[in-house]
Structures are given as C-alpha cells and as structure tokens.
C-alpha cells in the first residue's frame, strides 16, 4: 500500500510535468472531454431549471387540491359509453365525506370553446360554472370586485368573474366591474376580475370566465350536466383515506360491480408533478446519454494522444527502466497522466457548462436559475475518470511492457 501511494505520488508528479511540457497538445487533447462535459452539464442544468420552474408554477396552483373527473376507459369508449359525474355526486360527497376543508363542483359549459364579446371586440375563452366555494378550493382571488356569492348561485344571476386575459383581449377598461359582456347571445355583468396567474406549459392560466353553477347548468340544458369536483383535504388528514372514502361513495351510487373499473379519476397537482418528474427525468437521461457519446469521443482522443506520447517517449521509458523503474510504476504513471488529462478536461468542461447554463438562464426569463445538481457534477467526474482510466490503460500497458533494451535503442 505504501509502495502504491508512493508510486501514485511520484507518478502524478511525473504526469503533471509531462502535461506541462506539452501544454498546447494537452489542452487540445482534452478539448473533446471539455466539450462533452460542458454539454452534459448544460443539458442537465437547462432541464433542471425548466422542471423546477414548472414545479414552482404547479405549487402556485395549489398542490393539495384534488380534482375528481369522469373517466371513461378505452374499452368503454369503443362501446359508445361515456361516463359522467353529476351534480348529485357532488352533493353526496359534500354531505358525506369527512376531513375535507372545502369541496366545490365546477361545470364546464360550452366546453368546445366559447366566443365572448364586448363592444366590437370578441375573443375565445372557456366558461366554467362554479359555486362560491370554488374560490377557497382553487384559490383564485379577485383583484377587483368580488367572487361569486351564494346569492348569485341561488338566484341564477347572469354575472361573470373573469380572468385578466379576457379583460385584456376585450380591451375593457382598467376597472371592468359593472361592464356587460356577451356570451353566445346572453348578457352577463362583470362582478370581478381575478389576480393574474401567468402561464403553465405555455397555456394561459388567465383566459376563463366563471359564472354561477346554476346559471351554467341552465345554459347547458338538461342533457349535458357533467361536473368536475374539486376538494382540498384538511391539513392533518390522510389524502389516501379520503380518496378511498370517495371511491366507495361514488361506486356505490353508480351501482358498479366490484370488478368494474372506476368511472372517475383523481387528478392532483402532486400527481401531475410526479408524472412531470418522470417525463423530465427520462428526457434528461436520454439527452445526457446522447451527449455522453461526445465524452466517449473525447476519451478516444485521450487514448490517441497517450499512444503517441508513449511512442514519442519510448527512449525516455527505456532510460527510466534502466534506472530501475518497475513496470508497475510506469503503468501507474501513464494511467495517472491519462486520468489527469481527462479530469483537467472535466473541470474545464464543468466551468464551461455552468457558463452556458447561466447564459441560457439569463436569456430565457421564464427559467429561474439553471441549477446544476450535485449528482451531475459527480457523474461527470466519475465518468471522465473512468474514461481516463479505460482509455489510458492500453497506452499505459504498452509503455509498461516495453523491453528496456528495445526502448533504449529507439530513435
């Protein structure tokens, strides 16, 4: 062990000396590794920045909100079925499920997209029917005016709570409260405008109009009464237990046989986040895999130059063999040299990658700081060391096996 450490120390000394002696060649050799590591770091950093930015947006949406939505399996769809959740389901859950902070039902109205008019302007938007508890579950707050009240719902008032985009596209006054907008021929009075939420995956989160649930129901007509139910569990409640309770209630009400699949699904920001993570992780893995090929090419560059170096220094190897250098010592020295070369490239590549990531983060405002995770740094160093060792091995073995007498005669 002591021999090994000694040889390692002396080998590193000799390796650094020879790298310094060929500074230009050494830097060019490591260029492949530099580019490889820089691209790995950049790609990972950008993917990471992207996913953390999206995760942040999801958090803003309220990660503890769960939505129950009708779900039709592909087999059922082939048979022409279409599952629905109804108003009655909502009322049942509202009265029976415990440990829920708030629960609300929304009814997508004119779900195909709706034209809304104001004066001479018109735009496309979506209309949601909801009751007053929607505000607490989805956490949408008025910037101006107020949200829908229970009275609005009871009296089936033609009032609308609009998103910021709608007001902007219709070129409404800065304070749109009290203005009338036209939804497919019916006039609605604007009673409130929501705070801006920004965009998510490029989708505008502020392009919507909310009317009272009962109003939407009336507009949709009796044949089209699908609802989505959203709720927020109490902070100390187990979300799994609540899901189980809801599942039993809904299945019981629909009189499903025990082997039949659920006719609804739970959608939560938490689940979306998990799915997103899976997607991002696989994209990162694929991208990292692709750029790893450039690392491989860089490794071959190191091997190439090490082979040249061994040939070039054949006589020198002969001299040190005559002086008593053991084959192991020479093997170690050349391995260390290859290792130092690739690690040198790794460090430079890391710095370059950070720089690229910073530039990209700077030029894309939607990305808050492209982060380089520790594992990516560890991985690039591990990988470059491995490359140095693997591709340095052949030249090092060649050097160690040289016969001193032949090496000394080499011109």
């Amino acid at each position: 062990m002591q021999h090994f450490l000694h040889a390692l120390l002396e080998g590193s000394r000799a390796a650094l000396q020879s790298i310094r002696a060929h500074a230009l060649r050494s830097s060019l050799t490591t260029l492949g590794i530099i580019i490889g590591v820089a691209s790995v770091i950049t790609v990972v950093a950008v993917m990471n920045g992207l996913s953390s930015s999206i995760r942040g947006q999801l958090d803003d949406l309220g990660s503890d909100m769960v939505t129950i939505r009708a779900y039709t399996t592909p087999e059922q769809e082939l048979l022409g079925f279409r599952n629905k959740l109804r108003d009655e389901d909502y009322l049942l859950l509202k009265s029976r499920v415990k440990n829920i902070e708030d629960i609300t039902a929304t009814m997508p109205a004119f779900s195909m997209g709706l034209s809304v008019g104001y004066g001479r302007n018109s735009t496309q938007t979506q209309l949601i029917g909801a009751d007053s508890s929607y505000q607490n579950v989805v956490r949408v707050y008025p910037q101006q005016g107020r949200f829908l009240s229970e009275q609005d719902d009871n009296k089936r008032r033609r009032v609308a709570f609009i998103g910021a985009t709608v007001a902007k596209k219709l070129q409404m006054p800065a304070n749109p409260i009290g203005q009338y907008i036209n939804l497919s021929g019916d006039w609605f009075r604007v009673i409130g405008m929501a705070e801006k939420r920004g965009s998510l995956f490029g989708f505008d989160q502020d392009n919507y109009i909310i009317t009272p649930f009962s109003t939407a129901k009336a507009l949709n007509g009796p044949d089209n009464l699908m609802v989505e139910i959203s709720y927020r569990p109490k902070a100390d409640a187990d979300p799994k237990l609540i899901e189980q309770q809801i599942r039993q209630l809904l299945r019981h009400r629909a009189k499903l046989a025990s082997e039949a699949p659920d006719h609804f699904e739970f959608v939560s920001a938490e689940k979306t986040k998990q799915q997103l993570d899976t997607v991002f992780n696989s994209i990162t893995a694929v991208a990292a895999g692709v750029v790893s090929i450039s690392l491989l090419v860089g490794g071959i560059g190191v091997m190439n130059i090490m082979l040249v170096s061994v040939t070039e220094r054949t006589r020198e190897i002969g001299i040190v063999k005559a002086l008593g250098a053991t084959p192991q010592f020479i093997l170690l020295q050349f391995l260390v040299e290859a290792l130092v070369l690739s690690l040198f490239g790794g460090v430079l590549g890391l710095m370059l990658g950070y720089l690229f990531a910073a530039i990209i983060a700077f030029s894309l405002p939607s990305m808050p700081g492209a982060l380089v995770p520790l594992w990516a740094i560890g991985l690039s160093f591990g990988f470059t060391s491995l490359i140095g060792l693997v591709f340095g091995l052949a030249p090092a073995v060649k050097a160690a096996r040289l016969q001193p007498i032949d090496a000394l005669r080499y011109e």
Partner: protein, 244 residues
C-alpha cells in the same frame, strides 16, 4: 581460464557459459558464445573488441537490460535468470549504475532532478533524495549546475551528471557504454580522471570501449571477438595513476 589469484575481494559478477543468440529469418545469429568470467569488487575493467564482437550485448546482459539465452549469471549474489521484470527493475535500481554514450539524461528535468530520479523508485523521502543527489553532484564537481537543464550543459557536464546519477544509488557496479564516445579529447581525459578517482574510492567500474586510450586506464582488459572471450589481461598500473 580465470586465474585471478590472490584477490580477496568478493565476486560481484559471475558469468558461467553465457550465450546470447538471435533468430534472424531462418538463421541463428550468436552475439555471445560460451562466455565465462568473474569480476570482483573494485575491479576496473575495459571490455574491448571490434564492432559486432558482442561487447554491447555483454554490457546489456551485465546490466540486466537483456537476458542471456543460455548460461547462468549472478549479479551481487542474485541469480538473474530467476527474477521477473519487476525484480529485475529493482535489481538494476540497487546494483547497477548505467553511463551511456549519449548521456540519456531526461530532457525536461534539471541536473539535480535527473540525479534524484533513480531514488524515486525507492521508498525514499524527498529530502533524503535531494541530499543524496546533491552529494553525488558534488562528487562529480557539478554542485553549481544543479538547477540547469541538460540542454544548458556541455557534453562533459552532461556526462558528469549521468555519472552522478549512476553513483547516487551506491550500486555494486558502474557500467559505462562508450562513456567518452561523444566527447572531445580534453573532456575525455577529464571524465577518465573521474573514473580513475571513483575506482580509487572503491567503486567497481566496467567500461565498454573501442579506444585503446580508454582501455589503458583500466586494470584489466577483456577482449571479445565474435562473441567469444579472446583475451583477459591485466595492465601494468597506468602512468597517470603513478603520478597521483
């Protein structure tokens, strides 16, 4: 044949029936044949002979750079044929000091680092290495050139550095392969004076040469012809040495 009586010094080199052959295409070339000789401690030996007589091959065998095809060789009590590559390297490091015609200094190292190099292969702390190397450089009179690179030194100085490098390990034998072959006559006589001094200090020196002047410095001259021992004679003390 080996009638060197009245010498109580221990045997350092013991060659017994050494042969070295190379396979060349379909014929075998013999560089050394049936060579037996002994060299004792503190002998001063010249190996001479025309080119192709096998003297360089013999030197390589003596220095454990090359292995004989047949026969037995013992260096300082070690049976060379039984050693593997690593053990041979260690043996070279401890027992043999090489001095080459073309100096063979490591070009990117200073004189001091060159002299320290053989000690790198031993478990020796840097400080101790440096002290020994400085002492060796002082012995060859080059203390003031320790920080110079080989290409900043003259031929004679380079060979002195090489000699210091050979001395620093305190080897059993110093092996010189035409050590003055690349030097002018003035420098040659300086270097030979150095060898004479080293011999006087008790070192065992073996020089391969084809110059009679060099051989005249030595006590014992071994002549090879066609790979065979042709003569093994003793010189009368050198006139230079009488003066000292």
């Amino acid at each position: 044949m080996m009638a060197i009586a009245a010498n109580e010094q221990p045997v350092v080199i013991d060659l017994c029936d050494i042969g070295k052959s190379y396979q060349m295409a379909d014929e075998t070339f013999y560089a050394l044949r049936e060579l037996s000789l002994q060299i004792r401690q503190n002998e001063y030996v010249a190996i001479i002979g025309p080119s192709g007589s096998g003297k360089s091959t013999l030197l390589n065998v003596l220095g454990c750079l090359d292995m004989p095809s047949q026969g037995h060789y013992q260096l300082a009590g070690h049976k060379v044929a039984e050693l593997d590559e690593t053990q041979l390297a260690i043996l070279r490091n401890h027992q043999v000091g090489f001095i080459f015609q073309s100096f063979n200094l490591l070009p990117r190292m200073t004189a001091l680092q060159n002299v320290m190099q053989p000690l790198v292969y031993r478990l020796m702390p840097w400080r101790e290495r440096e002290a020994k190397a400085k002492a060796a450089l002082a012995k060859v009179g080059l203390s003031d050139k320790a920080g110079h690179l080989p290409n900043q030194l003259s031929g004679g100085q380079r060979q002195r550095v090489a000699i210091a490098r050979a001395l620093v390990t305190e080897p059993a034998i110093l092996l010189g392969d035409e050590p003055t072959g690349n030097l002018d006559s003035k420098t040659t006589s300086d270097i030979m004076q150095l060898f004479d001094d080293l011999h006087a200090q008790g070192h065992t020196i073996i020089l391969v040469t084809h110059e009679q002047d060099i051989a005249d410095h030595c006590q014992r001259v071994i002549r090879l012809i066609d790979g065979k021992l042709a003569a093994d004679s003793r010189n009368s003390p050198h006139p230079d040495k009488l003066r000292v």
